[in-house]
């Protein structure tokens, strides 16, 4: 018969972990299932638990505002990821050239990540204010025809979100790439230099390819931030002017909480989940496959 302490050691770990497991089953998996179910009902202001098929999705796909939101997510997501990657990688490579004051510069590039997207949105809303901000200032410099009204221009408002988002997140990407660069074996680079390879060639042929895993995680994180982005848009443009800069997260909030369209809100939330899965699952699959082939 096992002693009491052996029994305790066998069951304690499971016992200790069980509240978290229960919470996850309930509040993550259970709630996703509930939201999924809600999206299949005719719930409006109050939840209605009668199955009603895919009507909410049909309604969602008929709404022009949803497609504006989806298109904006595409524009914002693509540009946000692209600019963050490019700027982050460039800054990391530059900082990796034995720069004096590297610590201070790194801290300056990275501090925006400590801010709330609401703060970032408030700051850029003021800077991009057409009447008093950047536009006003450049006009004062002697360019009276200078216009920079993206914030109130329905065609351009979504790009202001890109500007603010890249400002906030690119330093973080820099930090990840820099950590990746520091993990590369110096001797490989030295050997290439001895062989007469130029610095750009070394970066293109050796350094950047070996950062593949970093690219992978950075891409995942940025795509994730982009798809979830809600606060930045709310603070900067509130989805406007009109609905021109709305994104799925703002759409979901407005329909579920301001317009009393629970079913439609739930359907849009499920679409957001599906989008994240569509990005995540293939990436994960590719990456684990890549690792299995012995890297």
């Amino acid at each position: 018969m096992p002693s009491l302490s052996t029994l305790a050691d066998r069951w304690l770990p499971r016992l200790v972990l069980s509240p978290t497991i229960v919470a996850s089953l309930l509040f993550v998996y259970g709630f996703i299932a509930l939201t999924g179910f809600l999206s299949l009902t005719e719930s409006r202001l109050m939840p209605n638990y009668e199955y009603a098929g895919f009507g909410q999705y049909a309604e969602l796909f008929d709404l022009e505002r949803w497609w504006t939101a989806a298109a904006n997510l595409g524009i914002f997501g693509a540009l946000f990821v692209l600019f963050c990657l490019a700027l982050g990688l460039l800054l990391a490579i530059f900082l990796d050239q034995k720069i004096r004051l590297e610590g201070a510069l790194r801290a300056i590039y990275l501090y925006p990540i400590a801010l709330s997207f609401i703060v970032t949105g408030a700051a850029w809303k003021w800077i991009l204010n057409p009447g008093l901000g950047l536009e006003h200032m450049v006009r004062g410099w002697g360019f009276p025809d200078f216009t920079f009204d993206w914030l109130i221009n329905p065609d351009m408002a979504i790009y202001t979100v890109v500007i603010a988002g890249v400002w906030q997140s690119s330093g973080f990407v820099m930090a990840l790439f820099l950590a990746g660069l520091r993990g590369i074996d110096d001797s490989i680079i030295k050997a290439a230099q001895v062989d007469g390879a130029s610095l750009p060639t070394i970066y293109r042929r050796i350094v950047i390819p070996s950062l593949r895993p970093v690219f992978f995680s950075v891409f995942l994180i940025l795509a994730h931030i982009a798809i979830k982005s809600f606060d930045l848009v709310m603070a900067l443009t509130a989805g406007g002017p009109g609905t021109s800069s709305t994104v799925p997260a703002v759409f979901m909030y407005q329909y579920a909480f301001s317009r009393g369209q629970l079913g439609l809100g739930a359907a849009s939330a499920m679409m957001m989940l599906a989008t994240i899965m569509a990005v995540l699952v293939p990436m994960m699959y590719l990456e684990t496959k890549g690792t299995r082939h012995g890297r």
């Binding site: 302490s5 305790a8 050691d9 304690l12 770990p13 499971r14 972990l17 978290t20 497991i21 996850s24 509040f27 993550v28 998996y29 709630f31 996703i32 509930l34 939201t35 939840p47 530059f94 900082l95 720069i99 510069l105 300056i108 590039y109 990275l110 501090y111 990540i113 400590a114 801010l115 709330s116 997207f117 609401i118 949105g121 408030a122 700051a123 809303k125 003021w126 800077i127 204010n129 008093l132 006003h136 200032m137 330093g171 930090a175 950590a179 995680s217 809600f230 606060d231 709310m234 603070a235 997260a249 909030y253 909480f257 809100g265 739930a266 939330a269 499920m270 957001m272 989940l273 994240i276």
Partner: protein
Amino acid sequence: MAAKLTFGRAALYLLLALCALYYLMPLYVMLVTSFKSLDEIRAGNLLGLPAAPSAAAWAKAWAGACTGAQCDGLAPYFWNSVKMAIPAVLISTAIGSINGYVLAHWRFRGSEIVFTALMVGCFIPFQVVILPMARLLGMAEMANTTAGLAFVHIVYGLAFTTMFFRNYYVTVPEELIKAARIDGAGFFLIYRKIIFPLSLPIFMVCFIWQFTQIWNDFLFGVVFGGSDAQPVTVALNNLVNTSTGVKEYNVDMAAAIIAALPTLVLYLVAGKYFVRGLTAGAVKG
């Protein structure tokens, strides 16, 4: 060759300095704007230093600005955020630590699956859980309370804290734990005597990560905070986006800095752990 090299280095430094200016500019603009008078803001340019620096906008942002119907400034909401964030950070970190200990050193059949299943919580867009959660909090009469908000932050923070600690604790040699078990030490004794004393860095990382996440959160705050438990981010957004009355940009900017101050200070004093937390979160992805 040497001259060319120096020129290249100079260009490199110039570029890095320009980038630094770009990142600093919004903070600088927020600061100078918050100390200007409204007249000066309307007349002067964005980057100019305030002619007659005044802290009036700060006083108003803290205690008198209107965030929607209330005109008590940001202070009550700032304290709401403090009351929400501190317990939520402490509890989610404590649970995460013991979870990580189990998943790293007390594996049982299925524990890897449990870990993977928990990690899904790091990836979901929270929009997909807020509707049932709003209903649940309503039924439990915890809607619009700080306790309810803290609860939500704990529940959805556990995936991250568990991951941080688990990934840190797997680097503690298994032999150390085995030896202690042979000596008759049990589950909690090993945690207290071996694991916990090694954990200071990861606790720091986790505290900072969780505090930043919870303090900066907007979605949960706006959905579950109501008017009584509204956190500072929601109040700031209401302040900046109210369309009634004269727009006081100096007050807006002072309020934005007030809302940003706790996480900014944390970043300045513990930046090392900050970066480590971000990279740790990212390595796992």
